[in-house]
Subunit: 437 residues, 2 copies
């Protein structure tokens, strides 16, 4: 059978990995796909480098529209990133009746509804395994592997930079800023790390997973984001004393009133497998009503791990090229006319457990005041730990773990606690997920 011709937009890290994998594993890939999948065109502003990386026999251009418009190209792989020219190119490719493979989480989390609608109308596929958790086949598992299930929740470590920083902070007892600097030196964090450490990247990926898990449109603007930059080595150490690890989790849950969609630092019991996912590795824990908990673990970034997902999508698209579009797996897992209108809950309405740390005067009655405020706000306490005062200090750290509570109640209680004359400064609040059912 004639080979499938691929046009690559952007040959940076992942693009280079894709070219390498397609070449190195060409035989293995065509033995699986039933036909060869070959890189035919590459568009990159740096044509010299592109020529070098793509190798012989690949047409190189500095104008991506040449690829998108080429009649020789069957599948366009978009690896430019962002929502500017990448969006235009993807829509143009769809309009030209080409299938698209993309690793662009930002584009899909922000404009996925528009893009998938265009693709549906045109009867082409937009595949995006590489957009979430690198080489881990989590999109395939959610869209196809767990179709029997009513998905209840997903909790994922889906940003390698943040997980590396939190792992180092715990193992070395180091401060956030020091570890960030080390991560930057090692190339695990960008010069401007905001996108990773403040939760944007994780929220993009979570938004996509939430949509395919629950059959809702992508709604990135409604995601709640809280990063790791304010975490202290002290809280990580207290959490550990209590048997917990702190991870930046992306969490999405189906609740009677709607869908929770939130990224924030989270305490997890240390005996959970996902609490032991360290360094730059990613893992996604999925709870389905039939299967129970399943977890998917692997490298969430990097040239070849991400290329692994890109090429798997190329094989999938190749296999389904001639299939009736109505029988293909729907872009967002559910048939487009069967989407749910469940709303994303505001962060005030979410329900979880909490870790609270307060600095209290070491006096009688202080804890009684605090616990009364919590009881009055309908918050019950799971554990409490009072530390010895440090030499020369009259303030002691009090750590409280709560049972399930609604966020607005916690905030109200915190405001009252902070108003106590025996409490110094603000209360540190970190969410806690038991992940046990």
């Amino acid at each position: 059978m004639k080979p499938i011709n691929v046009g690559l937009l952007g040959i940076g890290t992942v693009g280079g990995g894709t070219a390498t994998v397609l070449k190195r594993n060409a035989e293995e890939i065509s033995r699986r796909a039933g036909r060869a999948i070959q890189l035919k065109m590459v568009a990159d502003l740096n044509t010299e480098r592109a020529r070098e990386v793509a190798g012989e026999g690949v047409e190189v251009t500095n104008d991506a529209f040449n690829v998108v418009n080429s009649p020789d190209i069957d599948i366009v792989v978009e690896l430019i990133g962002g929502t500017g020219i990448a969006k235009e190119l993807v829509l143009k490719a769809i309009e030209s009746g080409k299938h698209v493979v993309t690793a662009n989480k930002k584009l899909l989390a922000e404009y996925g509804n528009e893009i998938f609608a265009a693709a549906h109308k045109k009867g082409v596929m937009v595949a995006f395994e590489a957009a979430v958790a690198g080489g881990i086949p989590i999109i395939k598992s959610l869209r196809e592997g767990l179709t029997a299930n009513r998905i209840e929740w997903i909790a994922g470590i889906i940003n390698g930079t943040s997980n590396f920083i939190l792992t180092e902070m715990r193992e070395k007892g180091a401060a956030f800023a020091d570890v960030l600097a080390e991560a930057q030196r090692l190339g695990y964090a960008e010069a401007d790390p905001t996108f990773d450490i403040e939760g944007h990247d994780a929220a993009h990926k979570l938004t996509i997973m939430s949509a395919i898990a629950f059959g809702i449109p992508v709604q990135f603007p409604k995601a709640y984001l809280e990063g790791i930059s304010r975490l202290t080595a002290e809280d990580i150490s207290y959490a550990e004393e209590l048997g917990y690890r702190i991870k930046l989790l992306g969490i999405t849950k189906r609740k009677p009133g709607g869908i929770e969609l939130r990224v924030h630092p989270t305490l997890i019991p240390e005996q959970r497998l996902i609490a032991n996912v360290n360094g730059v590795m990613n893992a996604v824990l999925v709870k389905g009503d039939a299967v129970g908990q399943t977890m998917y673990y692997g490298a969430g970034a990097g040239a070849e791990p991400t290329a692994s997902a890109v090429v798997a999508d190329l094989v999938d698209v190749t296999r389904l090229l001639t299939a009736d579009p109505h029988h293909r797996v729907p872009h967002l897992a559910f048939q487009p006319n069967q989407m749910s209108d469940l709303q994303i809950l505001p962060i005030d309405e979410i329900e979880t457990c909490y870790y609270l740390r307060l600095k209290a005067l070491d006096k009688k009655g202080v804890l009684a005041d605090v616990t009364r405020i919590l009881a009055d706000t309908d918050i019950s306490i799971d554990a409490m730990m009072q530390k010895e005062p440090k030499p020369g200090e009259e303030l002691v750290d009090v750590i409280i773990l709560t049972h399930l509570a609604v966020e607005k109640n916690i905030n109200a209680a915190i405001a009252k606690i902070e108003a106590l004359s025996t409490i110094n400064g603000s209360v540190t609040r970190i969410r806690l997920e038991t992940l046990d059912k």
Copy 2:
């Protein structure tokens, strides 16, 4: 669109779970699949119970051939198990042009080549996600999610009963026989537990994974099996002192000379995520050349977890009903005319690390003799631990961990060590996998 009609053969644990999930999640499933998937017929010898479990509107028969021959049935789900009547029914269903979904690992590991050839000839699908690791979508991940990769090896905890026993032995320091009795009481082990604890079940699953990972025919008779019944609490405890956990692993590796295919107790460094998979849970670690290590974790058995895989296959088959058979995912992941002729290596030829435990006289020169034998047989030592003699005993336990060695060399060395007059009884040998690359 008209519903897909399913005929179920056998409505025991998994069959009951399948009926339950199809009913409970009917709406969710049809919103994904684009049409309803309904249970139309059930065959079971116990028709009364079958009627009760299947519910109203489902035709019940005590003759499975009625289902296989019914013109109303689109997909046959075989949950009878074994290689007798189940094989006959599956082949008959294929011959009648029906698609088959099965959880029967034994049937596929032993007769898969014949069954897949028949299905290929007839242009029907035989789907078997439920045959390996219950609800974990590992077959889909290997056949579709990792198609970009040259798979290097797979290591899996794929028998829940054995993993439960090993977990309890470690946590309680208990003997094998005691924990087995407890597992039987809890329903985690059969009255005759041989199939689980001696590695047969794991080897069936491993044989299937090995075939789809490397593109070779299923070759169960060539798998090496060693169970957990001879493991002692002592070895589990020594392993732990050295930083290792002992798990029953199914391991298949691509080597220059062929494929390793083996199930046996294995020491794993405790910091590996898979070493921390406890109780009845399963996990499969896959190493691909592009993606690196990925791991898949979840319940490997049970009514609804296994039903989750059965129903996911039903959705897959439903989606691909009208697809050109040549474009469907090949049964064994590679196109039937593109299979590899790599041979399964005999156990003597495998290469791994080893844990050796010997009882030695507490005398000068004993260890020198042992280490000289190892050096002469080209085996290098990674770690050695000599225990204090127990009160009143003159023998001491010596534990040796080796670097990579070929099994026949280890066996030759062990024979020489056992022949030493200073060594008492036989040497305990447990394989060790570092799983680090």
